[in-house]
Symmetry: C2
DNA sequence: GCGTGTGAATAGTTTCACAGCC
DNA sequence: GGCTGTGAAACTATTCACACGC
């Protein structure tokens, strides 16, 4: 299958929203409702779904439970995925305890920091280690995702370590562009750029 | 002017990179180099720049200093913009101290939380207040940006407060879709969705 | 020669329109 | 009647090709 990033992003949002609907006990949802909820049009939603080979007809919309299950299976979103966090500064420790990860199928199974002092001070239920043990632990615990929360100057180094250790995906919170081999899926979350983007749109408004 | 979001996003990244180059004392940069650095093609970069009314000819690329200045002025990225953070849990306090904001032209001038206990405990150089004073402080301090770092269940409420207080942009870290009036520029940073996106691309790989 | 600026061509995405099913 | 699934149309974005300035 070969879906565009936009489509994948929308599918992820749909999945999250189906999850919420399921918890609220809703049985059916229409493309229109989904569209409103995730900020897209009903056409786009239906097209996205049709690319996956849409479920089946009903006159009430999609059946929440089975649709969610289908998406989960197709994208393996149901599989619990193990992740680690590198860099246990304020942001890193905040992420360590971010409950939503655990709820939504991701499991933070290790934290790393280069400061041994910090490692000893941290109080959390998640195991923390020195960065020097990263490769060993990632392999031993089958970690697929690396979350990078170190300062700009060590970001590249950490990414290289994670790459060497064999993670499949990297979520980068450091505010620099790092070189990541193309076989590793990655996404940058740069807060400053996010604010800049908002500020720039103050001026260049386009819907 | 009427630029697409993609273009604006790239311009923001270019701006950030020019800033880094300037600090490193680099004088010129070509579209090709910029492209590599922000993950785009040289064509796209040149097209983006031409939409702004490109600078001038040289055989060495763009002149870092003047180009950065030009972008800053056109997008008002140079103006220091005031922001506040609502929700002083782990993420919120991490953001309070996120040094990069201060460096890059954004100034966090207030923090808000509904727990008075928490407000008293927090040790930071930034003023913190009860959420009940949000409207008053936002107006008094001319705050343009609201950063939402509260749990899902209070996100909508906080967004409504910020809207009423008159902020122009919202950066939403809560993991739910909130309704935000269209005249307010906003951006969602949903960590779980980010991880899902990465996980989904493990399967649906499309460059 | 090197690297930009930009119209034209290509590729990709979204919207529409409508047939089909419950 | 209501809502989906999907080919075709409209739109948007990216890439290319090449003229131009230094």
């Amino acid at each position: 299958m070969d879906l565009s990033n936009n489509t994948i992003e929308r599918i992820c949002k749909i999945f999250g929203h189906l999850d919420a609907l399921e918890k609220r006990g809703v049985d059916f949802v229409s493309s229109k409702e989904l569209a409103g909820e995730i900020g897209a049009t009903e056409y786009t939603i239906r097209k996205d779904i049709s690319l996956l080979g849409g479920p089946g007809y009903t006159r009430k919309g999609y059946e929440v439970k089975s649709f969610k299950k289908e998406l989960g299976e197709k994208f393996l979103l149901t599989k619990r995925r193990k992740a680690c966090i590198v860099g246990l500064g304020r942001l890193g420790t905040a992420l360590l305890d971010y409950e939503n990860f655990q709820e939504d199928g991701f499991e933070i199974v290790a934290g790393f920091d280069c400061s041994v002092n910090k490692i000893e001070r941290i109080r959390t239920s998640i195991d923390v280690f020195a960065v020097s043990r990263l490769e060993e632990i990632v392999e031993a615990r089958d970690i697929e995702l690396g979350i990078v929360a170190v300062p700009a100057e060590s970001a590249q180094e950490v990414v290289d370590l994670l790459t060497k250790a064999g993670v499949k995906g990297i979520l980068n919170f450091s505010p620099v562009k790092v070189n990541i081999p193309t076989h590793i899926v990655h996404l940058d979350m740069d807060f400053t750029n996010a604010l800049r983007f908002i500020a720039a749109r103050f001026i260049m408004k386009k819907t």
